[in-house]
């Protein structure tokens, strides 16, 4: 303390000079629009760069896991191809049997692609809060709009709520406000996915009627009712015994997306969403 005082008295001219310069600088930034904007822009740019840089480093260290996930995804796709091939053979067989049906087939409807996917990267993501969000490096310039779904290679991840020119922000599935129509893929019964805070690996499915028998190990997928996500995208697996409350099940779901290792994502664009949603407008409640 004494030393500090001694320093201050010894260099009091310099200290006073410095204080005056500081006051001038504060005045300049507070009362001049141009200078204030220059400072503001640079701070913003710096924080963006830091976020991007951090994401890059994280990406490098996660390459192994990423590779593993891609392999798994590849495997699933191969299986799907095989399954579709067999279905195709089967259908072609039927068509060959009944050649009249070929003319009845409206090919334009088959080729209509309902969903397109915008690949993107997460540059910021939280899992530890009650309201978690994912920031992505694609924005309105790339066609992202508010309300689109976000999926990871392993499963559903969130829904876009804010869009700027180059970036977008998604409500993570790990957010108390996130709700999603989901169904048990084995029985086909529809419930509601919700998160209740806590672990980033588990969510809940609710409002499945008590009469239906659901089992541990059942796969929970999107119902396709919301027209945000395509039907049948995986959410998770029933991991825990279920509670029954007021005639409905509430069961714990082990999420298939690894939220603490989120990196490459796809934003789902549902081309028919506007049309489908417009059907339900102005209905009597």
């Amino acid at each position: 303390m004494f030393r500090i005082l001694k320093f201050l008295t010894e260099y009091r001219n310099l200290v006073y000079w410095f204080i005056l310069q500081l006051i001038c600088f504060i005045i300049i930034i507070n009362y001049n629009n141009h200078q204030r904007h220059e400072v503001g822009d640079n701070v913003l740019l710096l924080s963006r760069k830091m976020q991007s840089g951090r994401a890059n480093v994280k990406k490098y260290f996660n390459l192994d896991t990423e590779n593993q996930i891609l392999k798994e995804e590849n495997l699933v796709l191969h299986q799907k191809i095989e399954y579709l091939k067999s279905r195709l053979n089967y259908t072609e067989g039927i068509l060959r049997l009944d050649s009249n049906k070929i003319t009845a087939f409206d090919t334009s409807k088959i080729q209509k692609q309902f969903y397109t996917y915008i690949p993107c990267r997460a540059i910021n993501n939280t899992t530890e809060r009650n309201y978690n969000y994912i920031t992505m490096d694609k924005g309105s310039d790339d066609g992202v709009k508010v309300g689109m779904g976000v999926i990871s290679p392993r499963g559903i991840a969130g829904r876009v709520i804010r869009v700027t020119k180059d970036y977008s922000l998604a409500l993570s599935m790990l957010n108390l406000n996130f709700k999603l129509s989901a169904k048990d893929s084995r029985t086909g019964n529809v419930g509601m996915y919700e998160w209740e805070g806590g672990s980033s690996r588990f969510g809940y499915i609710k409002y499945i009627p008590q009469e239906v028998e659901i089992r541990i190990g059942d796969t929970i997928v999107t119902s396709g009712y919301s027209s945000v996500f395509p039907e049948g995208f995986i959410i998770g697996v029933l991991s825990d015994n279920k509670d029954i409350k007021g005639g409905f099940y509430k069961a714990r779901v082990a999420l298939s997306t690894q939220f603490d290792a989120i990196q490459d994502l796809y934003i789902v664009e549902a081309k028919h969403r506007v049309v489908v949603d417009s059907l339900t407008l102005d209905l009597p409640q």
Partner: protein, 170 residues
Amino acid sequence: MNLTINKLAALIAGGFLFMFFQLYLVNHLILFNTAIPFIYFLFLFMLPVNIPAPVEFTIGFFMGLLVDIAGVSLGINASAIIFALGVKRLIIPFTISSGVRETGDLALSSQNFFWYFTYLLILIFVYNTVYFMLEAFSFVNFGYTLLKIVASTVYSFFINYLICVTFYKK
């Protein structure tokens, strides 16, 4: 510090005169929208050297702020003048003669011609550099900023040297 009442009164009157001419005359003598002249800082550069630094800085701060208020750039002149006064405090002790050190008076004949030339040129250049860098506040279009600095330095130096020769005789 051996300031008599007369000297002090003359100094204060000089300060007001410099501000008056700065605000009502020199501020309107801008050349080609590029070279901006200042004269008020000559008053501060030529203050007796034995005035305490905080006093000098405070006077400079308020004079700069006044010029700022008259213009449109709040704080820029004040920052530049305080910076230049800091530089003045750095170079004064090493360069003045013993005569000046005793009387504190920087009148024209107390130092040689070359000293005044470099002294004013350095301080005016420092002042203009800080001023125009703060005005631009970025390195975009740096060539134009540099042109403004050089042109204003030459212009201001010319005017200030004339004033110096005319009014700061012993």
